[in-house]
């Protein structure tokens, strides 16, 4: 299975994914299933629509007073004996975690699924520093054994067959493991249980952090989030600054829509509210609690064109409904965050130049806006990115010339009509079965994977003109 490394152009990565028969089947099954589950969950939940609007309004209100809420969060976490760190860049975030690991003499770190730690490539840094990172979400564990990256925000190993997983386990554990999900899950439980009990460091992300109470909120189905925050001596949580919510009352609004959007559950199995290190009287829990607040391009978007993307809950609903994601899966996007929202987050983290191809990997159909629990207008921002990519001349010369020519044609009716007539002549040899097929040269890029409707024998404009002459419109 390919990783879709960035050395290969997007077009090629996407092409490879579309020729991968297993991936195609897995994507179809998974995305259809999640779409169905999400729809059922909201059909049974009449107040859902209003809650989505409320959730969005809370995110917006939090952003408008982000400094205040972060200050509250910091004060509450410190008041409970936790420490807060500030990371502008991924390098800084990694250095903070490595420093904690070094100071506490940590040899092994257990992690619960966290996109923020993926985003800063923490595992490589830990390994280089002699700390063994162990991913404990089953999907992430599989991905780690395979040395790959997640291909879906919610189901990271969506692209793997049980046979492939069995082979990975067999190699890692040096004993034959049956290709049965039940058996594989049991094996992973035993294997990872040992790690939970041995590890010195627990590393998590945060789905939310409640400013008022200093609470880091983790949402999981497996229970690894609870393990990681209960058993090791030290807990480090890494979160983007936009994850803060003001109060517990606000948190409940998000919990009511997050799992429904992600997996169709009313709530995920475990919602874990962590408030600092072990308290007096507690038998278990970490002695140290650290919260790392991560910028990595987010702060610049408070007043930037991608501001809306700061409301994202990372539920993955926009991936499942996206006709492009459904075809190419997560790896072809080539970055930490796949799918429609992933394009925006990649641009946020790495700048618009990093998405010069990806900005076009969308049909702008708007299915993502409908699915998004906080109604982020992804197509609007994608169009903005396309414009920026064009204005800053990041796009290829061929593409820019093509769009300049098209633009010139569309604003000149005489030329446009002429082009239509010309096109009708030129298309003749290529029209088969009601569609233009197998165009030559660069135009073939379009028709290779799609049908192009031919120019009609009589265009709408021509028919309209006729009607007008006959006085019938």
């Amino acid at each position: 299975m390919n990783e879709g490394g960035l050395a290969t152009p997007f077009r090629e990565r996407a092409g490879r994914a579309m020729r991968d028969a297993f991936l195609q089947e897995a994507l179809t099954i998974a995305t259809r299933k999640f779409i169905g589950l999400r729809r059922e969950a909201f059909d049974d939940f009449p107040e859902g629509d209003a809650l989505r609007d409320r959730a969005r309004a809370i995110k917006e209100a939090t952003l408008q007073r982000l400094d205040h809420h972060l200050e509250r969060l910091v004060a509450s976490v410190e008041g409970r004996g936790g420490r807060v760190h500030y990371a502008t860049t991924p390098e800084e975030a990694r250095a903070i975690v490595l420093d904690i690991a070094r100071r506490t003499g940590a040899r092994m770190a257990v992690k619960s699924k966290s996109m923020a730690t993926e985003e800063i490539h923490l595992n490589e840094a830990l390994e280089a520093a002699g700390v063994t990172p162990v991913e404990t979400d089953l999907g992430e564990y599989i991905i780690q054994l395979a040395h790959e990256r997640p291909s879906h925000i919610i189901v990271p190993a969506i692209h793997k067959t049980k046979g492939q997983v069995a082979d990975l386990f067999t190699r890692a554990l040096k004993r034959r493991v049956e290709a049965d999900p039940e058996v594989l899950t049991r094996v992973a439980r035993l294997e990872l249980r040992e790690k939970f009990l041995q590890a010195d460091l627990g590393i998590t992300g945060a789905n939310f952090a409640v400013a008022e109470t200093g609470t880091v909120v983790l949402v999981t189905n497996e229970g690894n989030g609870r393990m990681v925050t209960s058993l090791p001596r030290v807990h480090v949580a890494i979160m983007g600054v936009e994850k803060v919510v003001p109060s517990m009352t606000d948190l409940m609004v998000f919990l009511a829509i997050l799992a429904r959007s992600a997996t169709g559950q009313k709530l995920s199995v475990y919602t874990t509210l962590v408030e600092g290190p072990r308290r007096a009287g507690e038998l278990e829990g970490p002695e140290e609690f650290h919260l790392v607040l991560l910028d990595h391009g987010r702060i610049a978007q408070i007043a930037g064109p991608l501001r809306e993307a700061l409301s994202c809950l990372r539920c993955g609903a926009c991936l499942n409904v996206c006709p492009v994601y459904q075809q190419i899966g997560g790896h072809a996007y080539g970055h930490t965050y796949p799918g429609p929202i992933g394009i925006l987050l990649t641009a946020m983290l790495q700048g618009p130049a990093s998405v010069k191809d990806l900005a076009h990997a969308s049909s702008l159909c708007g299915a993502c806006v409908d699915a998004c629990p906080v109604r982020i207008d992804i197509p609007r921002m994608l169009i903005g990115l396309r414009r920026e990519v064009n204005e800053r001349r990041i796009a290829s010369r061929r593409e820019r010339v093509a769009f300049v020519l098209l633009g010139a044609l569309l604003v000149r009716p005489v030329l446009y009509r002429l082009a239509v007539r010309l096109g009708r002549l030129v298309q003749r040899p290529f029209v088969r079965g009601g569609a233009v097929r197998d165009l030559p040269l660069v135009l073939g890029d379009w028709t290779r994977a799609r049908d192009l409707p031919p120019i009609a024998p009589r265009t709408f404009q021509e028919r309209w003109a006729t009607l007008e002459r006959e006085g019938r419109p």
Partner: protein, 246 residues
């Protein structure tokens, strides 16, 4: 390294550039959370049977197993039945003060190997380590419940003295005992209770609140649902008709 002052200054600088484009408002919080909780309790005192029925239905939907007992004294019999069917013997239980009663002798009399949790923390690291090893071997975990949310079939448990986090997490079978005092109707009501738990002057508690909605599950391999990946593979809730707590 970025300091807190630098970090916040950059955020403020960006905030000044924009008013924000979209409708903005936070959720209205209860002004007097403890009074609001009392109001919820009074309201539920009338119609708790419906709330319990809704909880039972939703808890079953998420894969939980519901039981009912007339009094706390009947609980050991139910727990022993659950253990017997699963050929499980080793049980860890919250401290009697946290559980609302000492069920140890009755459970032991029914053939269970009971490990009660200490009332508070253990000072000696070696002692803690030894206890943890025994907890890790347990097959059943017996806990109380702080909130039972009917809307979602969720059990909420707070960590604290005598109520370790691992009791509801490490054993493959989790049995939770609750009464009508724990029932709330919805997530929104649970939010009011959470506000009260965090209000100034609230009694001290542990550092973790766990929402548990059914058994541990995953669908990470070919979307095949499997249970008990890290947490318990079964969750049982025993509702006790006679109130177990004040």
């Amino acid at each position: 390294m970025t300091t807190r002052a630098e970090f916040l200054a950059r955020i403020r600088a960006e905030m000044q550039k924009t008013q924000g484009l979209f409708a903005a408002s936070t959720a209205p919080r209860p002004a007097q959370p403890r009074a609001a909780v009392e109001a919820i309790r009074r309201e539920l005192a009338e119609r708790w049977p419906e709330t319990l029925e809704r909880f039972r239905r939703e808890f079953g939907r998420v894969g939980g197993v519901f039981h009912r007992a007339a009094a706390l004294a009947e609980v050991p019999h139910l727990v022993a039945g659950i253990a017997r069917e699963r050929e499980a013997h080793r049980l860890v239980a919250w401290h009697p003060a946290a559980l609302g009663g000492d069920l140890g002798p009755a459970l032991t009399a029914r053939g269970l190997d009971v490990l009660p949790m200490p009332p508070g923390e253990l000072a000696e690291a070696a002692e803690r380590q030894a206890l943890r090893a025994r907890i890790a071997e347990a097959e059943l975990g017996l806990t109380g419940v702080d909130l039972a949310i009917a809307e979602t079939g969720t059990l909420v448990v707070r960590s604290g003295a005598g109520r370790p986090r691992s009791t509801s997490l490490l054993p493959p079978y989790h049995v939770a005992v609750f009464d009508r005092g724990a029932l709330v109707e919805s997530l929104a009501q649970a939010g009011v209770v959470l506000e009260a738990w965090h209000a100034a002057g609230a009694p001290p508690a542990g550092a973790v609140v766990s929402f548990i909605t059914g058994p541990s599950r995953t669908a990470d391999i070919e979307l095949t649902l499997t249970r008990g990946v890290h947490g318990p593979r079964e969750v049982h809730a025993i509702f006790v008709d006679a109130e177990t707590r004040g």
